[in-house]
């Protein structure tokens, strides 16, 4: 059976396992030990999905080229998965294995030029030391588990087997944290701890294109980050309740702005859980009826998770949304699950470029090329292009030069409570 990985020339999974068996046998006979270092590149999936597999392969080849001289003579290296490398280092105790892993982490972190794009890869590394008479499969599993623990800590870190939570504890502690957040969310729901903040989106001519309604949660004086509570709300189904709350509150606020003389579109985030429900359009209509707002002042931002699977119900809902006069935008475009097919399948009038392309500007020429190309493509489809996460004037300059129609980011305004939005809009229209 072939034991070599064709892309890197390293051992493959089969070769890795055979080498581990050999080293385990030798270690037992010689009363020595050896280390397994399991290295997994962080966010490689994102690179693959954003830039395609050819670029992904280029990244792997490049990393392999760097690792080769460092590993030579010290360890057997194999590539056991798309972005996973396993090093088997004879004679390595725990301390030396950790130093070796740290050296590998530094090598991986060097900036990596792929064409005009500059990436700064990081790795999650798990280390396990062979115990006397331990079977190689268990040893490899321990190293894999340690790597997973490193990944769960946010990546770019090294965990030695035995230092991570004992087997099973990791899942339990994560589950506990989620349960704790879930319980807080329920209490926040009971005590009205949710509200919407609004972040303006500014057109190239300085006018306000729309404001995005963003959910905020505060409980017992402590603000809970949306990065933490949204995933838990999505998992537990609470997102539907929060989504319906956003629909009505956002629509009511659009109406209040309209009554105050500011016809400003309010963009409301809609989750996958809402859109796969046949009840969704009834809830949307209920919000429109209750607020009595013109549908043209409401926009629904579709999150990337929707694009995993656009079912018939979702298609039907999208059609019905468009029929109401409410507009659609595609959020976080260019990362995660979003793909070109979404442009074909979703009748959206607006496309919001993910901040990942914006924060690296103006230095990252390759990201700028992507911005240019997507903007041109979006315009061909008659779409308005918005760039998210814009924080300085240089970024605005290059984005506007690329043809982006509107900008959202801290440079113009942070998300603000509803009570501050109207004064902000008034001040801005006075200044213009």
């Amino acid at each position: 059976m072939n034991s070599v990985d064709s892309l890197t020339g390293f051992l493959n999974r089969f070769g890795c396992f055979h080498t581990a068996m050999r080293l385990a046998a030798e270690a037992t006979v010689n009363h020595q030990t050896f280390a397994v270092i399991w290295l997994d590149l962080d966010r490689f999936k994102q690179i693959n999905e954003s830039f395609g597999h050819l670029i992904g392969d280029e990244v792997i080849e490049n990393i392999a080229t760097r690792l080769r001289p460092c590993v030579f003579g010290r360890a057997e290296i194999s590539r056991v998965g798309g972005d996973e490398f396993v090093l088997l280092a004879p004679g390595c105790n725990r301390e030396r294995a950790f130093e070796f892993a740290a050296e590998l982490a530094r090598i991986v972190q060097e900036p990596l030029n792929i064409g005009r794009l500059t990436l700064r890869p990081t790795a999650s590394i798990g280390v396990a030391i062979h115990e006397p008479n331990e079977d190689p499969l268990t040893l490899l599993e321990r190293a894999d588990h340690a790597m997973f623990a490193a990944k769960s800590q946010g990546g770019n870190t090294i965990v030695c087997s035995g230092d991570e939570p004992i087997p099973g504890r990791l899942g339990i502690s994560l589950a506990r944290e989620e349960l704790s957040i879930e319980s807080t969310l329920h209490e926040a729901l009971e005590s009205g701890g949710f509200c919407l903040h609004y972040q303006p989106i500014i057109r190239a001519n300085g006018q306000v294109e729309a404001v995005e309604a963003l959910m905020r949660c505060k409980f017992e004086g402590e603000t809970i980050s949306p990065m933490k509570f949204i995933p838990v709300a999505e998992k537990t189904g609470l997102i539907i309740r929060l989504g319906e709350f956003s629909l009505l509150q956002g629509a009511m606020h659009a109406r209040a702005l309209q009554d105050a003389g500011h016809e400003t579109k309010v963009a409301i985030n809609v989750s996958r859980a809402q859109l796969i429900s046949p009840e969704f359009t009834r809830a949307l209509h209920a919000a429109l009826v209750c607020s009595n707002v013109s549908p043209k002042l409401i926009e629904l931002e579709l999150t990337e998770s929707l694009f995993m699977d656009i079912s018939d119900t979702v298609q039907q809902n999208l059609k019905e949304i468009i029929a109401t006069g409410v507009s659609l935008s595609i959020d976080d475009f260019g990362t995660g699950y979003s793909c070109l097919a979404s442009l074909k399948d979703i009748p959206a009038g607006k496309l919001k470029l993910d901040r990942a392309f914006v924060t690296v500007l103006p230095e990252d020429r390759r990201a700028l090329s992507v911005v240019n190309a997507v903007t041109q493509l979006g315009h061909e489809l008659g779409m308005t292009i918005v760039a998210e996460g814009c924080e300085n004037q240089q970024q605005i300059d290059v984005l506007l030069e690329a043809g982006v129609d509107a900008i959202q980011g801290f440079f113009y305004a942070k998300p603000m409570p509803d009570s501050e939005l109207l004064p902000w809009l008034k001040a801005r229209s006075n200044n213009n």
Partner: protein, 290 residues
């Protein structure tokens, strides 16, 4: 109460805005009764509270105001009585008197039946929850649900000109769920509108879900999926209240008991004999004016 001279307080403004946002006018007869009491030299605030409690628009607006961040209550209120405790009877009564004097409420035609029914259903539901103590259903919750169950109807009457005829068809429908008749011709239904409104007042989830599903026979009969049992008990109790009111007043305005009655009796664990006795005991509650 010298509402004429004082300028509106933040609470007055919040209650007024809540009434306007809600889009459901308060019942004129209730407003009259309120003003008769409020204009007395020494108004009875408990009587004023009981008058407010019988009106959907005033109750909803006071609950919404009490649940606003302005008051920062640790727990949200789930009934108008709790809202009155948070706001203070005096403050709440002044706010209500203010909006009556300023006539700041929307107009909706054909509201009489809604005003009459909602206050009767609320009162009788609260009473039933007390009588059927094995249900362990808080009477305040039953009252709140009875009052708000159909609050989507006046909103739709106000916004959609065709709604009145849809409502008539749905009232006559003997097989399909009430909301199925609405869904066949409208983009939404009164149960969904009511639920979305109740959510925006931060009413408890069980109450919101009960409003959302109160015509859904499939949901009512199930025991394995949401909504929670409390929601199903609320639905059954107010459906029984509606049935008793219609029976006693000789009206048969809806066909809901024929579709949902058996399931409701099962949920409430009632047999025909007990039902008959309840109907007799309920008679004075049903015929009371407030």
């Amino acid at each position: 109460m010298n509402q004429h001279t004082s300028s509106p307080t933040p609470v007055d403004q919040m209650v007024e805005k809540a009434v306007l946002d809600l889009g459901i006018p308060p019942c004129p007869a209730i407003l009259d009764r309120f003003m008769v009491e409020a204009r007395k030299d020494e108004p009875d605030y408990h009587r004023l509270a009981s008058i407010i409690c019988s009106d959907v628009s005033l109750s909803a607006s006071l609950i919404k105001t009490a649940n606003s961040p302005y008051f920062g209550a640790r727990q949200r209120v789930r009934s108008v009585n709790e809202a009155l405790v948070i706001l203070g009877l005096n403050t709440a009564s002044r706010a209500v008197a203010g909006i009556i004097l300023r006539k700041s409420f929307p107009t909706v035609p054909n509201m009489e039946r809604f005003w009459d029914a909602s206050s009767r259903f609320a009162r009788l539901s609260g009473w039933l929850a007390q009588q059927l103590d094995t249900l362990a259903l808080p009477p305040e919750d039953a009252y709140t649900f009875g009052l708000f169950r159909d609050c989507g109807i006046p909103v739709l009457l106000r916004r959609l000109p065709s709604y009145e005829s849809v409502l008539q068809s749905a009232n006559k429908e003997v097989e399909l769920d009430f909301t199925q008749v609405e869904d066949a011709v409208l983009p939404t239904n009164h149960a969904m509108v009511g639920c979305v409104l109740a959510q925006s007042w931060w009413l408890p989830e069980e109450l919101c879900l009960a409003i959302r599903h109160h015509h859904n026979h499939g949901v009512l009969a199930t025991t394995t999926s949401p909504p929670p049992l409390l929601s199903r008990k609320l639905i059954a109790t107010t459906q029984l209240a509606e049935h008793l009111v219609q029976q006693q007043l000789g009206l048969s305005l809806t066909q809901e008991w024929g579709k949902l009655g058996e399931t409701c009796l099962n949920l409430l664990d009632l047999d025909e004999e007990r039902l008959g006795a309840l109907a007799v005991e309920a008679a004075p509650i049903i015929s009371a004016n407030e």
